[in-house]
Every structure is written in structure tokens, then in C-alpha cells.
Symmetry: C2
DNA sequence: GTCTATAAAGGGATAGAC
DNA sequence: GTCTATCCCTTTATAGAC
């Protein structure tokens, strides 16, 4: 029992370090030695736990995707009115991104480098079709509360406005000469701005 | 003279190949051999022209950035009314991205991997402050034609809506089960949608 | 300028002791 | 489980002939 605790602890430590390094440097940029060092072990032990770099990377990627997936679907399925839900979605999503600011670049890189690994996202596609958000969206259109725009554009706009700032952070920080704190507080302003934009656009 | 033409031709060919490979695979993912093969030469000749992989990469990155910079500033300095300019900007920018769809990911990756190399963008910062677009933006606010929002958010929203679709293309293609053609035609729809969103948001 | 051959470095992976 | 030492393949870079 105490032995197993120790195993789990080391494994957890490796995963934490691997996550940090892979998020930051990507598959090709990451060094097994850096991961090991970060976890205060050596590369031999890394291979003992995960055999290969590729396997370790896949574990990190799978975790990231399924985590992402769960949280998105949870937000999309909240029991709320449409407008309220858009606001809630943005609020929670930006908070999530603030805690995991490297995640978007990591996922985007992986999926552009290796589009075949996208199968796991495809599953979300099916679940998305049955999501409460989509149903509500269509109902609002039928009721004439919002304009009949394509759900594709709705979702894409919503995510663009939420995610892109994190991806382009270095550019905008330098363009507008912002400190880390200033940038974060501007991001927080977006919790109100984004729903405003989206809802104004959807209203007649 | 004829000698110099030959040099330039090989060099140009190398740069073209390097661009293709670096855009696609990034600094760490790119192989000098792949670049050489793509240019129908061998790696020795690559090194003859550019000494190291790093130097070749930097050349490609610099070109990309200054190209990007020129085009953005040119668009921002067009002699047009504000509303018209927003529409024109989106129209041209999306066309530009359709022709260079790998560019955003390349730049974003580089700048997140190596934020110190951002100095070249900083120059744009200064020029941006004197840009016609910013002046017009402030005038429109003073005239009461648009709401007094932060120019940071205006620019960020505009770029988010234009650029993010290209970055998240694999995700949305799979999420909505789209062919290449379907995706492109949805992108083209955005030439009208984005100015609509931005202008509706800015109007009282 | 361009090539072939090869050196040198880098980094993932394993053997074997503890 | 964990470490040290080391292997070995991949990839960058150079030497030297043409």
C-alpha cells in the first residue's frame, strides 16, 4: 500500500512536469532530460514509467483533450436561459483559460501537426449536436429572438473572442506595451465585452 | 553577372523551400534534409548559403514578420472612411490569410517559444500609434459615432475573428464535418459577418 | 557553387547495479 | 523503484574533391 502510494506520487510528479514542458515546448521541442530534471529524477526513470517520449506525450495530450472536452460540454449543458448561458460560458471559459494559458497553443499545435489525432475531438462533434446549447440556439431562432445565423459562426465567434487573446498574448503585450497585470485585467474586462458583442450581433 | 543570377536563383529556391518546411513543422520539427530535398540540393549546400539552421530559420521568420507588418500597416493607413475601412480591412486580411494559411500558427508559435524575438513587433507598436486607423477611431468616438471602447479591444476583436478560424481549422472541420471547400466557403462568408459584428458592437 | 563522405553533437533509449 | 553509465540512431555541420 505504502509502496503504491510512492509509485503514484512519482508518476504524478512526472506527469506534472511533462505537462509543463510539453505545453511550453511542444513534442519536438521538449527534451526528456528537461522533464526529468523538472521532476527531480533522471531520464532512465522516465522511461521506466512511460517507455517512450511519444507515449508520455500522448498521455499528456489525451488528458488535455478529455479535460477540455468535459469542461466545454459541461458549460454547454448548463440549465440556463440562452442569454444567461452565453454570459456564463464566457465567464467560466476565460477563467479556465487564465488558469491554463498554455493549453490553447498546445492543442492547436498538436492538431495542426497531427490532424489525424483529431478523432477524439470528433466524438465531441456528436455530443455537441445533442447539446442543450445548440437546441436552445435553434429555439431562439424559431422564436424570433435571434437572427437565423449559422451555429458554426456563432460557436467560432464565441471561441475566437475568448481564446485568441491567449494565443496572441506576446504580440498584444508588446504592441500596447502592457505588463502582465495590465494584460490580465484587460482579459478580465472581456468577460463583459464578449457576451455584449455576441448578443448585439444576434439581436435584430 | 550571370554568376550572380545563378547564386540568387539557388538562394531563392532555398528560401522558398525553407519557408514551406518551417511554416509546416516549426523550428524543432523541421529537418535540414527535408528543406534541401525540397530545393533539389543537398544539406552541404544549404550550409554553404546559410551556415546554420538557426540562421536560415531567422531569415524566414524576419521575412514573415516584416511582410506581415507591411501589409497590416498598409491596410490600416488606407484613405477611407472608418466603417468602409473596417470592411476593407477584413476583406483583404481574410484573402491574405487564405493565401498564407500556415502563417498565423508559425508566427504565434515562434513568439510564444521565443518572446524575446518580439522586438521587431514593438516597432509596429510605435507605427500603430500614428496610424490613420487609430486616429479615425478616436475621431469617431469624439464625434459620438461609436462608443468609447478601448482600441486594444477593438483591434483584438477584429484580429481574433479574422485569424482564429485559420488556427482552429482542424478542430472546426472535424467538429462540423466539413470538407476543405465547405470550410473555405464558410470562411468567405466571414468577410461580411465580421464587419457586421464589429460595427454593431461599436454603434450605440 | 555544388557534390560525396564523414565528423560531431544531440537526444532518446537501455543495461545493469543497487 | 531508482540510479549511473553507455549505447546508438538521428540530424546538424564540416572537409575536401570537382
Amino acid at each position: 500500500m505504502s509502496e503504491e502510494v510512492k509509485i503514484t506520487t512519482t508518476e504524478a510528479k512526472i506527469l506534472e512536469s511533462a505537462k509543463k514542458v510539453f505545453y511550453l515546448r511542444g513534442l519536438k521541442g521538449a527534451r526528456m532530460e528537461e522533464i526529468a530534471k523538472e521532476a527531480n529524477i533522471n531520464t532512465a526513470l522516465l522511461h521506466y514509467y512511460f517507455r517512450t517520449k511519444e507515449k508520455l506525450y500522448l498521455k499528456i495530450f489525451d488528458d488535455a483533450i478529455s479535460n477540455f472536452k468535459v469542461q466545454i460540454l459541461e458549460l454547454a449543458n448548463q440549465d440556463m436561459q440562452f442569454e444567461e448561458k452565453v454570459k456564463h460560458f464566457v465567464e467560466k471559459y476565460i477563467s479556465l483559460l487564465l488558469e491554463n494559458s498554455y493549453l490553447p497553443i498546445f492543442i492547436i499545435n498538436e492538431l495542426n501537426q497531427n490532424p489525424d489525432r483529431i478523432i477524439e475531438i470528433l466524438n465531441v462533434g456528436d455530443e455537441l449536436r445533442e447539446t442543450l446549447l445548440l437546441r436552445q440556439f435553434n429555439e431562439e431562432i424559431l422564436k424570433g429572438n435571434i437572427r437565423p445565423v449559422n451555429f458554426f459562426h456563432f460557436l467560432l465567434n464565441l471561441l475566437s473572442l475568448c481564446v485568441f487573446p491567449f494565443i496572441s498574448k506576446p504580440i498584444f503585450k508588446s504592441l500596447f506595451n502592457l505588463s502582465e497585470e495590465q494584460f490580465t485585467s484587460l482579459i478580465l474586462e472581456r468577460k463583459n465585452i464578449i457576451p455584449d458583442i455576441i448578443l448585439k450581433w444576434l439581436k435584430n
